[in-house]
Structures are given as C-alpha cells and as structure tokens.
C-alpha cells in the first residue's frame, strides 16, 4: 500500500548538502502498524515527512495506494493530507485557546464538512478517546496525556488511510505513555487505519506488526540499530 522507490532526500543541496534519506526502497502493507526505528539523527522524521506529503523528495518516488506523491501539486498534497493522513506529534501541537471539540473538529472544518457531520464525528471520537467530559475545555488546561488523546482523536476523525505518529509518547511519563500506546493500537484496529510510529524506543517498535530500521538514512536490519 505504501511504496517507495529509490527515495532520496538531500538537505541544502547547494551549500552544505546532507543526505538524510539515501536511496530507500520500501513496501509496506496497509492496515498494519509499522514502526520506523533508529537512533537520533538517523532520518526517521525526514522519512515520515516524505511519506506524509509534508516534504518533497530530492529524487525517487512515493506511492500511496498507487498515486505518486512526488508528482502531486501543492494543492493535491493539501487535499491528500487532509483526507488520507492523520498526525500525532510528540509536542501535541494543539490550538491552545480552542476547546477540545474545536481542536478535533479542525481537520473537518478545513475540508468543509457540514456542521452535522462535524457534530456526530467529533462526538464519537471524543467518546472513543475518553474525553467526552472535556468537550468544552480549552486544550491549554489539559494534562499531557489528555492532550495526546486530543491529538489522536484529531488524527482519526477524518477516517484517514495512514496515521503518522512521531514519538507520540516522548513527552509523557512511562505510565501515561503506555496508555497512549495502547489507545493508538486500539484505534488503529477499530478504524482499520495504517499506523506508522516513529520512535527510537525498541519496546514500542516491538509492539508493531512491522519494523523499518533506519541508520544514516538507509534501511538496515533491525538488529543493527
């Protein structure tokens, strides 16, 4: 379902070129949980940005369900991200002075869903992540774990094909982190999405169906990391 062919990303190609992703060819099954694992600076986030259509590759191709992201216009990429991708970030990235409801509704508002759709979908999502009672609370007043629940709800409310989670538990204590991990895996199964977890945490990576190990921008055997 997700395929890359000779994917390469070089930063600052003119002055101080640095190849963060080097000739990566991958083929990942849909509907699974996949871990991108590697040490800091190995290119995990870079790969994720490329797969999510947030960044464009220097060379190579990326196919998501058969369409080549590298050939898409900015506009098409916006639509692709809005409709097919969900994000969960390490630092949450919420709208701090908007309510939980508005934060989860944001991607639906961007895609111009009707008020009725927004109401039912967001309500259902808040229920799934256990935040129904925080519906009208500004997200700045939430705990870290609650914030990440809001991100997960926001990532899945659009029914995306792929959810990218970059170090989703990095800012949380181990107990809360495990809660969030479990929630993520449960939601992935409930909503039949593909989930790509970026992590340097071996334990988290082991819980995934598949592991892509990165070292210096290249795919290596997971035991070499």
């Amino acid at each position: 379902m997700i395929e890359t062919v000779n994917l390469t990303k070089t930063y600052n190609p003119k002055r101080t070129p640095y190849t963060a992703i080097n000739n990566v060819s991958l083929s990942l099954e849909g509907g699974e949980s996949i871990a991108i694992m590697g040490k800091s600076g190995s290119g995990k986030s870079t790969l994720m940005h490329l797969l999510a259509g947030l960044d464009s590759p220097s060379s190579g191709e990326i196919y998501v369900n058969g369409t080549n992201l590298a050939a898409m216009s900015n506009r098409e990429l916006n639509t692709f991200r809005n409709h097919s991708v969900g994000f969960v970030f390490q630092a949450f990235y919420l709208m701090p002075y908007d309510t939980v409801f508005e934060n989860v509704a944001l991607p639906l508002r961007i895609r111009k869903s009707s008020e009725k759709e927004i109401e039912t979908q967001v309500t259902e999502m808040l229920e799934s992540v256990g935040l129904s009672d925080k519906r009208y609370v500004d997200t700045i007043d939430l705990s870290g774990g609650q914030k990440q629940r809001v991100s997960i709800a926001r990532a899945l409310v659009t029914n995306p094909q792929v959810v990218f989670a970059d170090e989703p538990t990095g800012n949380l204590d181990s107990e809360t982190g495990e809660e969030i991990e479990n929630l993520l895996f449960r939601m992935q199964k409930d909503y039949k999405a593909t989930i790509i977890v970026v992590t340097h945490d071996k334990d988290l990576a082991e819980k995934c169906d598949e592991i892509v190990a990165l070292k210096d921008g290249q795919v290596v055997d997971k035991d070499d990391v």
Binding site: L54, N74, Y93, R109, I110
Partner: protein, 434 residues
C-alpha cells in the same frame, strides 16, 4: 475551510490576543471617532441648509437686478486723467448721469433676454413690486399688513398644513399667522378666505378675494408674509399702474434647470454678473457655508486620515507578532491540509477585525457624545437664540457602514504582509520552531 468558520476562528484568535491588539485598536478608535465627527458635522451643515432652503426658497430660483455700479465705476476707473479735470456744468452732464442711473436701475426687455441666454437658465420672469394697503381674514374685521412675496411654481415651500397654491385664486401664508388669536392651529387657516386690498392706478381702493391653500413652516426667521402666485402679482402690479405708466421691473426671478450642482450654480451666478446683473441668491449663502462646512469636514477627515494611517503600522506590527507567536499553529493547520490562501485570509481577516472593533468603538463614542450631549445642547443653544432650525450632528447610516467597511478594508490591507508570511510558511519548519 468555510468562510463562516474562518471568520469565527479569526475572531477567536484576535480575542485571545486582545491585550496585544489593544493599542492599534485604540489608535483606530481615535481615528474613527474623529472621522465620525467630521462626517456628522458635514452632513449636519448640509441638512441644516436643506431644511432652511426648503422653507425659504427653491434652489432653482435666483433673483437678479441691474448692477449700475459695475459699468459707471469701471468707466471712472479707466479714466485717463490722474486727477479728474473740471468740466463745465452747463454741459449738463450730471443731470444726464442721474437719468441714466435711474434707467440703469430698471430691467429692460433686452436685459431679460440677455439673462435668459445664460447657460443653465430656463426662464426669466420680471418681478413687480406691489403695494398692498392691508389684508383681512375671513370672519374678522382686523386689518393686517404682512409682507408679500411672489410664489413661483418651481418653489418648494415646506408646508405646515394644506398645500402650495396652484392657481392665482389661492395664497400661502407663513406660520406667523397661526399665532393670531382667531386662528389657533395651522389647519384652521387652510381654506379660509382672505381679502387683499390695494390702491389702483386711479387712486381708488380695489380688492381681490383669495383663499389660503396652505401654511408654510417657519424657516430661520418667522415673519408674517403672504406668498402670492406670480400671475396674481402681475395682475395687481398692472392694476396699480397710473395713466401712461408701463410695468418697470427692477428685479427678475431666474429659474435654473433642475439638478444643478453647486459649481454649475456658481457658474450661472458668475455669468449673470458678467452680463451686468446683481445676483441675490439665498442658495449662494448655502453654497458658501456648505463649502466652508466641506473644508471643515475635510480638515477633520484629514486629521483622522493621519491618525488612521499611523494606526495601520500598529495593525501591521500586531499582526506580525501574531504570526510569529502562532507559527506552530500555522504549521499544524498547513500539515492538516489548510491551503496557503486560507491561512492568508485567516490572518488578514484577524487584522480586518482590529479595524472593525476600532471603527465600531470609535463610531459608538462619537455617536453617543453627539446624540446624548452635543445635539441636545446645540438644540437648546439655538432655541435660546430664537432659531428654529438648530445645527445638529447627522450620521447617515450608509456612511457609518462605509467607515466600518473602510477601516476593515485598510486594516486588512495593512495585514497582508504578515498574512503572506503566514501563508508561505513551510509546515515542517513551522512545527519545528521553538
């Protein structure tokens, strides 16, 4: 994103940063308050003169009289002698000059024709002075001596009761008649008979029976006057002629084409003066005062403009800060698929709302001060001075709306640079921002 949602989000963003936005809003408030006062004063002057004019005289009428001074004086000025030389009185030049001057005071047919040729002039009607001995009202014996004025069709009198006279058997009286003991209310005057008594050419009393068709509202001055249809004034003037005399008008009413602007009226006045007439025109005062009012309004508007211009830098600065503070949220919205255009609109609209609140608060202040303090005070001040039509600040709603829309538009424009920076932000870099 739907426009409605975008507006809501822009407003929420502004509200969350209301303290940062306070300064530019306050400066816009100062600008908007001044602007509203300028507007209120400008329209106040205009409406005051429209009120007065409606009561007093039609804007389409001018009065002209011959201007003997213009030629004789200019001839003297052009004398070649540095000091006037003695001339023999036997030449009888002085006597000639006096008759010539008397002649000069009358409007001849040629004069009238010349006046009629001036551009924008529709018709020239010679006005004849009539000598009313007295008038009596139906039902009383009392004899009154009010002033008389010719009434032209193109006049639009502001009526208190009844209607403007449309035939020579009818007249209009001013509000002063209402104060007569036997009258009581303006309505009672309408339809009442009136007898006009004057001395005819043979030295005998002659009378004309007329009906009062309406009562004119008082203008700035409320003297007792009767408006007599023009045809009737001609009839009476003819009847008052003595043997061998002919009608010798000293003044004429000039009817202008409808809907002239002040500049065109000014041109008519200049042309008539150049043709050798003296122009008596109530509308001239109006044009002058209107122009003064306009300059005053423009001066205030210019001040407001400077204040608003300065405030725009505040708006731009506040919006720059807003973009800077929200760079991660911008990154997030773009990651979630928001287009650059929508991000641009979101921030430009946030700036426009700074303009909106500045305008609304400023207008609110100017309006409240005018409506609750200045206007009542001015009304009292003028009525103490015995003036019926007081100067008041007037705020036409469409202009108030124009201020709001205008300030929103320029605040929008002032925000375009920061908004463009937001629109162009790269989501990954924006998200990585510490």
């Amino acid at each position: 994103m739907k426009f409605k949602d975008l507006i809501k989000l822009a407003n929420r963003q502004l509200f969350n940063r209301k303290w940062q936005a306070l300064l530019p809003i306050l400066s816009l408030v100062v600008g908007a308050t001044t602007m509203t006062f300028a507007l209120g004063a400008g329209f106040g002057v205009q409406s005051l003169f429209e009120k007065q004019l409606a009561a007093e005289r039609a804007p389409r009428l001018l009065e002209i009289a011959p201007d003997p001074s213009s030629e004789t004086e200019s001839e003297k000025d052009r004398s070649e002698e540095p000091v006037p030389k003695y001339t023999d009185p036997s030449e009888n030049k002085q006597a000639q000059e006096i008759t010539a001057t008397l002649e000069d005071l009358l409007l001849s047919d040629t004069d009238l024709k010349k006046a009629a040729k001036v551009s924008y002039v529709e018709e020239v009607s010679p006005m004849h002075s009539i000598n009313m001995k007295y008038v009596t009202l139906e039902g009383t014996e009392e004899k009154y001596t009010p002033g008389t004025e010719p009434l032209f069709d193109s006049m639009e009198l502001k009526m208190l009761a009844g209607e403007q006279a449309d035939s020579s058997g009818k007249v209009v009286v001013t509000e002063a008649f209402v104060e007569l003991e036997t009258v009581g209310s303006p309505q009672n005057l309408v339809g009442k008979g009136m007898t006009l008594t004057y001395i005819n050419g043979s030295g005998e009393e002659e009378q004309k029976e007329v009906t009062i068709s309406g009562v004119r509202a008082a203008g700035i001055a409320s003297t007792a006057r009767i408006f007599i249809p023009y045809d009737l004034t001609v009839t009476i003037a003819k009847a008052q002629l003595q043997e061998g005399e002919s009608l010798q008008p000293r003044r004429a009413a000039v009817r202008l084409q409808p809907d002239l602007n002040p500049d065109q009226r000014e041109q008519v006045r200049d042309d008539l003066k150049a043709t050798g007439f003296r122009v008596l025109d109530f509308a001239q005062d109006r044009d002058t005062v209107q122009r003064v009012g306009l300059y005053l309004t423009l001066a205030m508007a210019a001040f407001a403009g400077v204040v608003i211009f300065a405030a725009l830098f505040g708006v731009a600065n506040t919006m720059s800060m807003s973009v800077y503070e929200r760079i991660r949220q911008i990154g997030l919205m773009k990651a979630l698929g928001m287009s650059g255009g929508t991000v641009f609109l979101l921030f430009a609209m946030e700036g426009a709302f700074i303009g909106f609140w500045g305008a609304v608060i400023g207008i609110g202040i100017a309006y409240s001060i005018s409506a609750f303090l200045l206007n009542p005070w001015l009304a009292e001040f003028f009525s103490d001075k015995g003036v019926d039509a007081a100067f008041q600040f007037v705020f036409p709603p469409e202009w108030i709306l124009a201020i709001i829309v205008g300030l929103m538009a320029i605040a929008f424009l002032a925000s375009t640079l920061p908004a463009r920076r937001a629109a162009k932000a790269n989501p990954i870099e924006a998200l990585r921002y510490e």
